[in-house]
């Protein structure tokens, strides 16, 4: 599974720390998500989608 978190974060001008605080996780989790080394739970995926005002399937791309 790939994702567009890094791209959207840059578009919204958020740092990894900003996004981590908004979705209530540690910064390391955002780092691992961006490197595709961690698949988020449905709740975290939903929270991230809400921060970027998008749908889950627009951010997380299933191969």
């Amino acid at each position: 599974m790939n994702n567009r978190i890094k791209e959207l974060r840059a578009r919204y001008n958020y740092t990894q720390e900003d996004l981590a605080k908004k979705v209530n996780v540690r910064r390391e989790t955002i780092v691992f998500l961006e490197k595709n080394k961690y698949n988020p739970s449905l709740k975290l995926a939903h929270d991230i989608a809400r921060v970027f005002d998008s749908r889950i399937e627009d951010i997380f791309l299933f191969d």
Binding site: E17, A20, K21, N24, V25, R26, R27, E28, T29, F32, K35, N36, K37, Y38, N39, P40, S41, K43, L44
Partner: protein, 132 residues
């Protein structure tokens, strides 16, 4: 934050006790004592790393634990338990072949389990826990 401080306090107590043991032995340390001392230092270093990470996360206003850290801990616990079973089998095999005192065998097993846990944690923490 509280958990992180507790980890740091326990670590300080372990270090203090190890220091007392080291200085009261007055240089009467054999190979196994030195090995045990080195392993304690490794385990303490791991605990300090964990405590510092928790405290720094709390200072940044982030939760000290989140879903990824919990998942890393779960996977670490399951894998290290699995490996520990084989570790005890190896220890049992060697305890039949070579004469060891009971407390040496148990101490080696417990410290071995701690090292296995620390190594598994490091692997999952730096490699990630992707569902494949």
């Amino acid at each position: 934050m509280k958990k992180g401080i507790i980890v740091l306090i326990v670590t300080a107590l372990v270090l203090f006790t190890t220091g007392v043991w080291f200085f009261t032995s007055k240089g009467d340390l054999n190979f196994f004592s030195i090995a045990e001392f080195a392993i304690i230092i490794v385990v303490v270093a791991f605990a300090v790393l964990l405590g510092v990470k928790r405290v720094s996360s709390a200072k940044r206003g982030e939760p000290p634990e989140d879903e990824m850290s919990k998942k890393v801990m779960r996977r670490t616990a399951s894998l290290s338990y699995y490996i520990s079973l084989y570790l005890w089998l190896v220890i049992m095999y060697f305890s039949d072949k070579i004469k060891f005192e009971t407390h040496t065998i148990i101490g080696t097993g417990i410290l071995g389990m701690a090292i296995v846990f620390a190594v598994c944690w490091a692997v999952f923490n730096f490699r990630g826990t992707r569902n494949e």
